[in-house]
Amino acid sequence: MPACEPSPVQTGDVLLSIENLHAHVEGNEILRGVSLRIRAGEIHALMGRNGSGKSTLSKVIAGHPAYTVTAGAIHYRGQDLLALSPEDRARAGVFLGFQYPVEIPGVSNLEFLRVSCNARRQHRGQEELDTFAFEDHVRDTMAIVQMNPAFLERSVNEGFSGGEKKRNEILQMALLEPLVAILDETDSGLDIDALRIVANGVKTLTLPTTATLLITHYQRLLDAITPDFVHVMAEGRILRTGDKDLAMALEQRGYDWIDGADTPQP
């Protein structure tokens, strides 16, 4: 593991490259040959029916130990991502915003965010922030998602509403400044104002040198953040890739016409 970041990213560099990825959990094959290439400066949307494997893909990228990769490869900035521990992937700049963030009773959100932020900073060769410096930093950062500092005093996600948990995820993204951010249904469960705030937050955090993979079921988010590519996943594969119009077509017509369960309409 390198002690600090390799050479800076240029727009257009391939950040994440997934080739023919197969993965199973408890004996069930869930991913059956996913291929995807994401470059710096791109925003990708990943859509697909419930159970098609979107969250599984995101967790395999992040390194969840319950999933076993049986074939294929993932490269992150040319490096074998699957060889890294989950913490090293995060330190190197891969971020997953969870569909269902877990609650961690008794662990202070502030302390958690500080340790996490410092782990990433250390990897980038930046000095670690002490309690006081971090508190200033996190308060500034919270403004991006318009989150009340009172959430720092609570345990990680404990008793947070669905929308509050999602904002806490975006706060973590803002603190970790990832190069590749995968946001798994961050828009689900957000009220109208919160959706706008989160979408603006994500836009602020998206740079020409970073890439974002948005997993979503709704056009609403994609109206706010225009994707360069839209992928449709079905039964553990990417079935179709298009541009933002594909998402719009899905919104109007559903998935049936695409996965062949129904005759395509003219």
Partner: protein, 480 residues
């Protein structure tokens, strides 16, 4: 790293206090009989009442059987193979710290308990006990200005014999149990605290117990008396060198709280726990009890138990005073082949008495961690209330957790609530932390201290962070 790998890492815990101090000691020969009891008493130049106390205890002990009801397995202890008195050789009268052997001061320095004027902890008075004797007590003068007595038991016997005679054995009777009887016969030193009426003790009091010798048992005796309307917070810490043999530690602690008095007693126990194969470590058989004698009196036990090969310990409260309050907050962490059988006894005698029990057990490695608690509500305890919560966390699949709550109530107008849970350390929580760049071992200790938060919050502020660090240390393994 998966949680299985994190568990693997747990199994290589370093123990930082395992050194031995090379110092000339005065030891008596191994073995126990009446002459040894008399010898200990004579060495300490004790008054006759104390010699009689010891002899009576010894006589009772001989008739008693070692208890076997706890979920503990260990080879029979040979009570004739133990040294019952071991003291570092030093000048008889330690008028000041200058007279204390520098090697001893250095030992406590290394343990993070500096005793000298310049370096001592601010706002914490410390009594340092090395094997059988007290080495030094800091801040005595400042405490005396408030009328608070804080000294070694040996000094108390000389300077406050009437208080000692009145209260010693008044909470834990001589024949209470096998280990208490043994302690009553051979106890060496320990701490004595007396807080007069209406005095709020101005600083934390703390005793630090150090076992140094590989064949001496440690049998300390602590007595704390809080007069009406007074309050005191007391903390004990303990460490021992790493030997591949076992050492016996059989302490007795007695607390007495009169009307409106409050005693907070906290323990951070980090005796040597044995190695990863279960070799060596302290056998810790301790009797701790508080008597809430007065109305509205309050006794609170907080313990963080991380060391010892064997822990047998049930700090309890006898709630005799009307509306008195007893509390027990416990974290017990076991790893490798450690065995802990620990919990509390809340005996409700007075009407309106209340008790709270919060116990958090964490077992990893091949360890066995049992909670054993008794809530007894007597016929006079109208309106008594108890709430108990016992949570266990398992790390890995080789460790065991047991819960044995005993509830006895002879009072229909009492409320007893008991909640219990057992969980495995959650893979999803662990993954969540790791996916934020937090290393697996740090993530495990973060989850464990989160699990213990309710108990840590009860510790005096100065020590809460220390307890957190201690857990992290116990859970730390080799990186890579």
């Amino acid at each position: 790293m998966s949680s299985a790998a994190a568990v693997e890492a747990l199994n290589t815990t370093p123990y930082r206090y395992g050194f031995v101090t090379d110092i000339e000691t005065e030891k008596i020969a191994k073995g126990l009989d009446e002459s040894v009891v008399r010898l200990i008493s004579a060495k300490k130049q004790e008054p006759d009442f104390l010699l009689q106390f010891r002899l009576k205890a010894y006589a009772q002990w001989q008739l008693m059987e070692e208890p076997d009801w706890a979920a503990l397995k260990y080879p029979a202890i040979d009570y004739q193979d133990i040294v019952y008195y071991s003291a570092p050789r030093q000048k008889e009268q330690k008028a000041s710290l200058e007279d204390v052997d520098p090697a001893l001061l250095e030992t406590f320095d290394k343990l993070g308990i500096p005793l000298s004027e310049q370096k001592r902890l601010s706002n914490v008075a410390v009594d340092a006990v090395f094997d059988s004797v007290s080495i030094a007590t800091t801040y005595k003068q400042k405490l005396a200005e408030h009328g608070v007595v804080f000294c070694s038991m040996g000094e108390a016997v000389k300077d406050y014999p009437e208080l000692v005679e009145r209260y010693l054995g008044s909470v834990v009777p001589i024949g209470d149990n096998f280990f208490a009887a043994l302690n009553s016969a051979v106890f060496s030193d320990g701490s004595f605290v007396y807080v007069p009426k209406e005095v709020q003790c101005p600083m934390e009091l703390s005793t630090y117990f150090r076992i140094n010798s590989d064949d001496a048992g440690q049998f300390e005796r602590t007595l704390i008396v809080a007069e009406e309307g007074s309050s005191v917070s007391y903390l004990e810490g303990c460490t021992a060198p790493m030997f591949d043999t076992n050492q016996l530690h059989a302490a007795v602690v007695e607390l007495v709280a009169l009307d409106d008095a409050s005693i907070k007693y906290s323990t951070v126990q980090n005796w040597y726990a044995g190695d990863e194969n279960g070799k060596g470590g302290i056998y810790n058989f301790v009797t701790k009890r508080g008597l809430c004698k007065g109305r509205r009196s309050r006794i609170s036990w907080t313990q963080v138990e991380t060391g010892s090969a064997i822990t047998w310990k049930y700090p309890g409260c006898v709630l005799r005073g009307q509306d008195s309050i007893g509390e027990f907050y416990s974290v017990a962490l076991t790893n490798h082949y450690q065995q802990a059988d620990t919990g509390t006894k809340m005996v409700h005698v007075g009407p309106g008495s209340r008790s709270t029990i919060i116990s958090k057990g964490i077992s990893s490695g091949h360890s066995v961690n049992s909670y054993r608690g008794l809530v007894n509500i007597g016929p006079q305890a109208r309106g008594a209330r108890n709430f108990s919560q016992c949570d266990s966390m398992l790390i890995g699949d080789q460790a065991a957790a047991n819960t044995h709550p005993y509830i006895q109530s002879r009072q229909p107008e009492a409320t007893v609530e008991h909640e219990a849970s057992t969980c495995h350390i959650s893979e999803d929580q662990l993954f969540y932390l790791q996916s934020r760049g937090i290393e697996s071992e740090a993530a495990v200790s973060m989850l464990v201290s989160g699990f213990c938060r309710d108990v840590f919050n009860q510790l005096p502020m100065e020590f809460a962070a220390e307890a957190d660090k201690l857990l992290a240390l116990k859970l730390e393994g080799s990186v890579g």
